[in-house]
């Protein structure tokens, strides 16, 4: 473990120890051991905690003094100068900015030359090596993700504000101007447009050139209300208790570790997908049984409460794989056991070919492949949620055949028979 040398780090650590104790007093002796300091220092940290607005209470625990934070109290984690630097660094990692490597190169050089006038991101106080150390720490803390020699902000704890120059703001505005009025993300994009427009003051959006047909989307408009509701119970880090209306119309309650929050465009619904947990001894965030996967339509949630226990499922390997393989979101429980390799042959039609090639591109992470054959083309994929896939295939009835999946073939048979019966019934 890294040794804490700075008083501010120890102060932050003391607060996190007290928060982790969930209202139980932690004795001076325990704090001295944890913080590697003496009795006076513990007392000093206590005073500084009070100064920084944290309502820490003292209590006698036998012959010792104990410290605790009431769980209901708002706890303000203290700010440190390193945090300010890290925040400033992260603000330069806005999408569209060059890689941090490049940024660091410029920065270190400037620091070495003691060039105080050309600071980047307002960081004047630190040396090149300090800057480098902070970037390393940000990577270790998972705040910065390195991919393809580019650095991406993870937004785990550090929010990233977009900092743009006027030219870039104008470019963004031009892009948003052309997004059509019926797009499923339109309300959110409108709100972004307004925010940029406040800065560069251009004309209002003009949709007069557009004609929009097709589905009307509404659910994503509420994402700005719903995600903060989940954030208020820290769903990424902790288990949560949800009260919701189930498919049968009854009110249900469950404790879950959120694995994913997914907006299904086709269903125009936002779902929480997670692992259901028991209410007693197994509320410990242990990897659970696959059958306990739950899918909850966020609109059906009536109450969300924080629950003790750490969430280790959020976007973990299992949920990432599930996300890649799910065709859409089923209302029923989908588990990995329902995964199926499918092979479907389509007729040689330009529109269908474009749709399927596009689908293949979208689903390449699940291993989707399209292969041309003499009288058409074959689509292969590994799919979770055959019901959703058959729903997608319905529209191509008469132009596709199932090559290798008995389950898919039988679902197709059932669909064709039911539909034919319905038409015949009407005719007769």
């Amino acid at each position: 473990m890294k040794k804490m040398t700075c008083g501010k780090e120890k102060l932050a650590h003391m607060i996190s120890i007290l928060k982790g104790a969930h209202g139980k007093p932690v004795t001076t002796g325990d704090l001295m051991r944890e913080l590697d300091c003496n009795r006076n220092s513990v007392n000093n940290y206590y005073k500084r905690c009070l100064e920084s607005g944290n309502n820490i209470k003292k209590v006698n625990v036998g012959h010792e003094t104990g410290y605790y934070i009431e769980e209901s109290e708002m706890v303000y984690d203290p700010l440190t100068t390193d945090m300010v630097y890290k925040y400033m660094i992260m603000q330069n990692v806005v999408p569209g900015a060059d890689s941090i490597k490049e940024l660091m190169g410029i920065d270190i050089q400037q620091k070495d030359e003691r060039d105080r006038n050309n600071d980047i991101g307002g960081i004047r106080q630190i040396s090149g090596s300090k800057y480098y150390d902070l970037v390393k720490e940000l990577i270790e803390e998972g705040e910065l993700i390195v991919y393809d020699e580019k650095y991406y902000p993870a937004r785990k704890n550090i929010p990233v504000s977009w900092r743009v120059d006027y030219t870039t703001a104008e470019e963004y505005l031009n892009i948003l101007t052309m997004m059509p009025p019926g797009h499923h993300s339109q309300k959110i994009m409108d709100s972004v447009y307004k925010k940029i427009n406040e800065i560069i003051e251009s004309d209002d959006k003009d949709f007069s050139s557009y004609v929009v047909v097709g589905r009307t989307y509404t659910s994503l408009n509420r994402i700005n209300e719903l995600i903060p509701l989940l954030k208020s119970v820290d769903y990424i880090k902790h288990l949560i208790k949800i009260k919701y209306i189930s498919n049968t119309g009854k009110t249900s309650e469950c404790i879950i570790a959120v694995g994913l929050v997914v907006y299904s465009v086709e269903k125009d619904k936002i779902y929480i997908i997670g692992e259901r947990r028991g209410s007693g001894s197994d509320v410990r965030g242990k990897s659970s049984n696959k059958e306990l996967t739950v899918f909850i339509d966020i609109e059906k949630i009536r109450e969300v409460k924080p629950e003790k226990g750490i969430n280790r499922s959020y976007q973990n390997k299992r949920f990432n794989e599930l996300y890649d393989r799910m065709f859409s979101i089923s209302n029923s429980r989908i588990v990995e056991e329902n995964e199926e390799r499918v092979k479907v042959k389509f007729a040689d039609d330009e529109f269908i070919k474009d749709r399927i090639k596009n689908l293949c591109e979208y689903r390449k992470k699940s291993g989707a492949v399209v292969e041309s054959v003499e009288d058409g083309f074959i689509y292969s994929d590994m799919i979770v949620g055959l019901d959703d896939f058959i729903k997608f295939l319905r529209q191509f009835t008469g132009s596709y055949e199932v090559l290798n999946s008995d389950r898919l073939e039988s679902k197709k048979k059932e669909y064709v028979k039911n539909l034919l019966d319905a038409y015949k019934e009407e005719t007769e």
Partner: protein, 341 residues
Amino acid sequence: MNNEMKNPYYRLRQYYYIFEELKLSSAKGCESKGLKLSELAEHTELPIEVIRADIACILEASGGDFCLYIGGKSISGQYKHEDERKQFRSDIFAGIYDDADLEWTSNDSKVMLPLTDEESTIMEEVLHFHNHPKTRIMQPFLKKDSYHFYVQDEMAMNEDLYRLQTCIKNKIEAKVWDSTSGAKKQKKIKPISLFYDATINLYAVVYLTENGLSAVRMDKIRFIDEGKCFETPDDIDKRKKIIPNVWGLDFDAKPFNVRVRINRTHGRGNVEKSVRKDLESRVNGKLTEEGDFLIYEDKVYGKEAFIRWLFSYGKSVILEKPVSLRKEIISILQKEAKKMV
């Protein structure tokens, strides 16, 4: 009180945002010098103790970009000696600077876009910044979108849309490369409207033909250049009126009148909701309730796309008229049934 404010990084964002706004209003000529720490506490709804502790840190780290002004004196919080630093911190914690003006003097030319994480997610998607699962954790929510046309190069298409819009507004011909049906061909079109099918995320441009209208998908064309001005025909409004009746961009198709029956009880009412969402933009059609059924009547251009739509709902959506099309559907289904025996 917002729970996010427990996190010092969110508090920092809030402070920077407030001072960014002050800088902007000051640039626009509005009077704004700074904010007192007590005002900042009021503004952010944070306890003054938290503000004092945070600002002491920010002053120390900002290298003079932030300054406190009190009684004509400026205090940057930059001290060489530890004793001076300690004294300053002790003064700020004691509330001595609560009424001092805090100002931000950064000359950074960039501006902050105060986007929420949700807005950032959508914006990053629009700008195609996400292309690897590792970057997913940046997003507060993911999107599942197997049913849509995936626009490979949204930026390039946006550029083309923008230029076509200029042509539409100014009634100027557009020279485009069209790769519909394979071979790339150069052609001149007289664009009158942009077209968006939200169900499958398909963009197109509608243009004038000799007697009517036609359309070409945006993913099949590349804008090349502007041509000469063109006159819009007198019957343009009449021609445009049919756009909401067109399915699958089939403007040249022979129209037919349809009557479709939708079972409202299917899928716990979800079928009805979904159909209503699909048909909201078909403004020339009629949707009426008949007991357990919803009846959709309209003039339809584009048989194939319309059949695809009917099939997508299975037995919940049944075509009643025209009889010829109904027979065609039955024939497709019978052939399928035969193949599967």
